[in-house]
């Protein structure tokens, strides 16, 4: 601890700042908490006015987001055996039975496959390129790096037209592979820029020592540099994953059936007379929570990630 510093804010200044910022944090969290809360409401609680802060929680929204249901006549219902599980019990209250699974599970799985697939590929290619840009003399290095960055400036819709045509020709429309390649192409600029920053920070002397010890360049790369860059690679991977997870424009334009991810699907969850808000909220909660967890894990590298490595703390 240093001695008393004239630049240290007074304790009153700290308190006011703390209170104001906490107030902002509380307000900004309300919509998110409202999503989580709505997921546990019954449809009638969800749309009651004034909005209900206190309510009896139910998993109805979660049951609805994972199932499709059909209405039965009272006679048909009476003839059925008693409900086998809690989900069936909830649905019966509305004179309905579960007809089968909804597409939500499938869409969620697509998000996982495409998210992880494209993250893996971006990191694999990005690490190689970043290492080369960091360590070797490459002609037109700065121009190439800027070119890689500039691909991120393009509005997705601008390239979506020819990609749509190209994918139609190649049979890649609405496939996992097509979406993985596309998201990799979008993410690779971020991966190269971030990873180059992380690799630049690893002293070259380590590799040089390894090379003198008789390692080949390649061995030095994966036995010396990769382990050193592990944290950087992990946080870059999380950024790529979050982007692919959240992406909407390409997903809505290029997928419809088999490879559709969750973001275009969740807003289309409908119930009787419009959107089934508890089900939408339940789906959204399941979809958003992983990202919240990742954000907390990432907090040390957050700034770097969102500015393409332009700002390092």
């Amino acid at each position: 601890m240093s001695a008393y510093s004239i630049t240290e804010p007074s304790s009153r200044a700290k308190w006011t700042a703390g209170i104001l910022v906490t107030l902002y944090a509380v307000i900004t969290m309300v919509p998110l908490l409202w999503i989580v809360a709505t997921g546990f409401k019954t449809p009638s609680d969800a749309i009651s006015y004034p909005p209900k802060v206190f309510f009896e929680p139910t998993v109805e929204g979660y049951v609805n987001v994972f199932t499709t249901r059909t209405r039965l006549s009272p006679e048909a219902l009476a003839a059925l055996p008693p409900p086998a599980n809690f989900a069936e019990e909830i649905v019966r209250q509305y004179d309905m039975v579960i007809a089968g699974p909804s597409r939500f599970g499938e869409r969620f799985l697509n998000s996982v496959i495409i998210g992880f697939g494209s993250t893996f590929l971006s990191i694999f290619l990005g690490t190689l390129a970043a290492y080369a840009f960091s360590r070797f003399k490459i002609p037109l290095k700065d121009d190439l790096l800027f070119f890689i960055l500039s691909t991120r400036m393009m509005p997705p819709i601008a390239v979506a037209i020819p990609i749509f045509l190209m994918y139609r020709q190649l049979g890649l429309s609405d496939t996992h592979l097509g979406m993985i390649l596309l998201y990799t192409a979008v993410n690779i600029s971020l991966a190269v820029w971030l990873l180059k920053g992380f690799i630049d920070e690893i002293p070259r002397e380590y590799e040089e020592a390894a090379l003198i010890d008789g390692y080949t360049r390649f061995q030095a790369f994966y036995k010396v540099v990769l382990p050193q860059a592990a944290t950087g690679i992990a946080s870059t991977a999380i950024f790529c994953l979050i982007f692919a997870w959240n992406e909407y424009a390409f997903a809505v334009l290029l997928t419809s059936g088999t490879a559709q991810t969750a973001p275009p699907f969740i807003p289309t969850i409908i119930g009787v007379g419009g959107q089934d808000w508890p089900a939408v909220a339940a789906g959204a909660t399941l979809f958003l929570v992983p990202v919240m967890v990742f954000t907390i894990l990432l907090r040390k590298h957050l700034l770097r990630g969102i500015t393409f490595g332009a700002v390092r703390k």
Binding site: Y49, L144, P263
Partner: protein
Amino acid sequence: MTESPITRVARATPEPVSRRVRGLSDRAIAWIFVAPTIFLLLAINIFPLIWTIRLSFTNYRANRLNREVEWVGLRNYERILTDDGIWMNMQATAHFLFWTIVLQVLIGFTLAWLINRKFRGNDLITTIIVLPMMLSPAVVGNFWTFLYQPQIGLVNYVVEFFTGIPANSFSMLGSVTLAPWAIVIVDTWMWTPFVMLICLAGLRSIPDYIYEAAEIDRASKWRQFWTITVPMVLPFLMLAVLFRGIENFKMFDLVVQLTGGGPGNTTLLASIDLKREAFEKWRTGYSSAYAIILFVTVFGLASIYVKALNKVKER
């Protein structure tokens, strides 16, 4: 350039020997490592871009494969630049861009300035504030339509609670005057933390001794703020504005979920209009020209801005 001993030794070694001894040459490795990335970007970014440019001179329609494609020269560009509707969309885009940036800079900077007073728990609260910007804009935007509903929505309830204006008397997303602000509010809610984080990094980069020196010179706090804090944070703030500007110029997911461009065309931002032209009306050639115009605009504006940013940095 200083050379490492390794490169000097490597160069002195005859080529076939070095290859046998050390595997591939550095130059070969460099190309093997960089090539896949460049290839992927050429295939999925540059090739489509060139294709878009080509299509922009035709009357091609992607839903009619059998129709003969004609070269129409610059007609698509001419029609776009003289179309009143498109100028309206540009105005909607400009309104959205301007106000989101103004609000996010003001709120984001203020928050960063407050957090920089290092009160207890500021790290935890920063992480909480950051959450909205990491989430899927489409999913969150969709849920905001629920919050904005006139009869049952939380937003209208809160407005009624504080101002007494009846909740069912206005509709944030349904009214021509309110909808452009409704999208500004959600975008500001989502992206203020972005500006805040970058400003915070700027504030933290100012060394204490500058303030100490100012204090010794008896500069007032107000004066310190304007002559030290603001100029030193400015490059960071400008960087944040650049990122937000590019992102919001391309804005699609959040607003398409919130309003879909309506009511009327009051929130029809350029990318949403482009999507309608390209994938609903299937005017492929026309929308390609539209896309090129947007891309050139954003690229041009960003380049001018980066020049200004570098000047500020040099000072």
